[in-house]
């Protein structure tokens, strides 16, 4: 356990993190592209159209993985924020803050693809459905974290404050979800139940979905590492290692 912790905390060194991240990034990106291309091909081209919703249901291969990521990244951000608050890792602070815009992006993709799908299927771009509303509130939670981080001048203070906010949001998230569900059943009797019809999904639709779920995870990993790396170099731009990263190893003065 102790050895593991020591190993883990060694990534707290910005220089080591930068080196390791640089090595992993192309792999993650490559895996994301590979699984994404195969998943999209199987889903959009090869797979069957939905017998009820026709071709428009194919948007789910983007919509559903993005929706999973929107929650996954929030959890990750709060976890990284927790590490930042408890152990004061600079890398964890930057990771939490690097995750926020990616999560907000996935949340926005979820909302946009959902409303594009809703137009032909429900006949409207937006309904005040419980899922849609919670997703929208989640987007605002992300905006709050990003806004707070950007508003505070000292980036370390800002990251810690935003991390605490992310944790408060994480505690609140299930309550928001529950309350929105409760509100929905109170206000409209016939809510559209998205998933009632496909409790058992055909393998030809499941596989692309699983592939896309992996693709989005890999993409998140690559994007997170790249953003954290860039933030580290910017933050430590005065340090020797960052100078070496930016301008190459310093030549001995002639």
């Amino acid at each position: 356990m102790n050895a593991f912790l020591t190993w883990l905390t060694s990534f707290g060194s910005p220089e080591k993190f930068h080196r390791v991240a640089l090595r992993f990034e192309p792999w993650l990106l490559g895996l994301a592209v590979a699984t994404g291309v195969v998943g999209l091909y199987l889903g959009l081209v090869k797979g069957p159209a939905d017998y009820l919703q026709g071709e428009s249901a194919r948007i789910m291969y983007i919509h559903i993985p993005a929706a999973w990521m929107s929650l996954f990244i929030y959890g990750f951000m709060a976890f990284a924020g927790f590490c930042a608050l408890v152990w004061r890792f600079k890398v964890a602070e930057l990771m939490a803050m690097a995750a926020a815009p990616i999560g907000a992006g996935f949340t926005a993709v979820t909302l946009i693809t959902g409303s594009l799908w809703g137009r032909p299927t429900w006949g409207t771009y937006w309904v005040w459905d419980a899922r849609l509303t919670s997703e929208l509130v989640l987007l605002f939670l992300y905006f709050g974290v990003i806004g707070l981080y950007n508003a505070i001048e000292d980036p370390r203070k800002g990251a810690r404050a935003a991390s605490l906010l992310a944790l408060i949001g994480l505690v609140n998230l299930p309550i928001i979800h529950f309350s929105v569900n409760w509100w929905n059943t109170l206000h409209q009797g016939n809510s559209i139940n998205l998933f009632a019809g496909k409790s058992s999904i055909h393998p030809s639709m499941l596989w692309p979905l699983i592939l896309m779920a992996f693709a989005t995870k890999f993409w998140f990993g690559a994007s997170l590492l790249a953003r954290t790396r860039a933030a580290l170099v910017e933050f430590e731009s005065g340090k020797e290692w960052a100078q070496a990263v930016l301008f190459g190893p310093r030549r001995p003065q002639a």
Binding site: L85, V137, F140, L141, F143, G144, G147, L148, A151, I152, K157, R160, A161, L164, L165, I168, G169, N172, I175, I176, F178, S179, V180, W182, W183, L186, H187
Partner: protein
């Protein structure tokens, strides 16, 4: 109550805040004026039709109370930070959470409670059914302290910022969505004749949880800004 005890610190902070509030009592009334004006705007925008106004009165009052409570949050820790008494609180021998709790309680007494107090007038003006009024008042009495607690945590996080107002709303509003839903939902339930027990109990549970945890989170947020 011994001098230097936790309780004396709690009441000391409350008395000090109450005194400074009294010295600027015109400012203290701002949330009330804000609520009164916004309530006037609704009939002007939607038309004076009584049935329509009565239908939406509960939700409208809840939203207005929520927004009015936000107005005074901005200044909750700002003055203390600028004149340095926040530093004294941070270095005080008394637990910071207790001092934060005192500030939150006074914020509620100065903002939440008066808003609840003027609610009967607002509800009558909008024509809310009299049988829903007790439900509205109870839900507000349970919900406004939660808004003060969550708002205080956000105010602590944004205390050092120059223009925190908009950011504060961006942070607070998503977090208080459940309070609004259960509060306005209770009023709605009483209008449609269904039981209000569930939303009321949920609000009460939220109140208990936020009283227990809120001051601790608020203290942690205040410490973060002062490393």
């Amino acid at each position: 109550m011994r001098k230097g005890s936790v309780l004396s610190a709690f009441f000391g902070v409350m008395r000090r805040d109450a005194l400074s509030l009294w010295r600027r009592r015109a400012d203290a009334l701002n949330p009330i004026w804000f609520a009164a004006i916004v309530i006037t705007l609704f009939p002007l925008a939607l038309g004076p039709e009584a049935a329509k106004l009565a239908r939406i009165a509960g939700g409208v009052i809840w939203v207005i109370v929520l927004l009015a409570s936000l107005l005074s949050l901005d200044a909750l820790f700002r003055a203390d930070l600028e004149e340095g008494s926040l530093d004294l609180m941070l270095t005080s021998a008394q637990p910071l959470a207790v001092l934060a709790a005192a500030k939150i309680l006074l914020h509620w007494l100065a903002t939440g409670l008066p808003l609840v107090a003027i609610t009967p007038i607002a509800a009558t003006a909008l024509g809310l059914s009299p049988k829903a009024l007790p439900v509205l008042l109870t839900s507000l009495a349970l919900g406004t302290p939660i808004i003060s607690v969550i708002g205080a945590c956000a105010a602590a996080l944004t205390a050092g910022l120059r223009r925190a107002g908009m950011l504060l709303s961006l942070i607070v509003l998503p977090l208080v969505v459940p309070v609004l839903i259960f509060g306005a939902g209770a009023v709605e339930a009483s209008l449609t004749g269904t039981s209000t027990t569930q939303p009321m109990l949920l609000l009460a549970a939220g109140l208990v949880a936020s009283i227990a945890l809120g001051p601790l989170v608020c203290a942690a947020a205040l410490r973060l800004g002062n490393h």
